[in-house]
Symmetry: C2
């Protein structure tokens, strides 16, 4: 089952509950985003003007071993957030914008007409936990 398909078929969280299969697929992608190093890698690739980044450039941006960076890139690639291409001796990674867009849509709030969405509620963000 292709992860991007699952993302495309999953309604926004605020619209209706996810079923178990959708949740399993979506969770795999969010889990990939749940690491600071991977988030930074993704933002480096996503914000790069040319659209692609060489692995060596990414490795230089962290004080981590090269295999560790390679591992994180693999994770981001497996969930469909990045693709890679080898040219000559170097490997270039680039963003898969569709996946990122689907994730964003999944978290979208209902259109902010106060009486609209099923989950429109008067914001009570004051109460803090802990």
């Amino acid at each position: 089952m292709e992860l991007l398909e699952i993302l495309e078929c999953s309604p926004p969280l605020t619209r209706e509950p996810l079923d178990a299969e959708q949740a399993a697929g979506v969770a795999r992608v969010f889990k990939a985003l749940g690491d600071p190093v991977r988030l930074r890698i993704l933002s480096i690739v996503a914000s790069r003007a040319g659209g692609e980044v060489c692995v060596c450039d990414i490795t230089d941006a962290f004080e981590l071993s090269q295999p560790t960076i390679s591992h994180h890139l693999k994770v981001l690639k497996e969930v469909g957030l990045l693709t890679s291409e080898r040219r000559a001796s170097w490997v270039y990674y680039r963003l898969v914008p569709e996946t990122l867009g689907e994730l964003s849509a999944l978290l979208t709030l209902p259109t902010s007409r106060p009486a609209d969405g099923p989950a429109s509620l008067t914001a009570t963000a004051a109460a803090v936990s802990r």
Copy 2:
């Protein structure tokens, strides 16, 4: 350090790289979303018409022990995605829409002007997160 603050100060991933501190904060929230059970819980609460859900209702929706559900609710609360309120014997959870909205904004693609790449640095002023 308040997590919602970090989210508010973090630019979209496609705009510029996250620094280490931002990435650490954002990763905590995504990590909370990186579990299928928590995703389903969140979608149940977020899509509930009344806006709030009793713990007992959530527990009934899963074949997991009640302490396990309580643990997941605690995680979602600690990262600012849910709040809880006790009334009589029951505890009700509700969504914090601001946090979800900030996350969605973080993953937003740059305004889709076809000529620009997904990481066009010039079109950055458009996407604002509040």
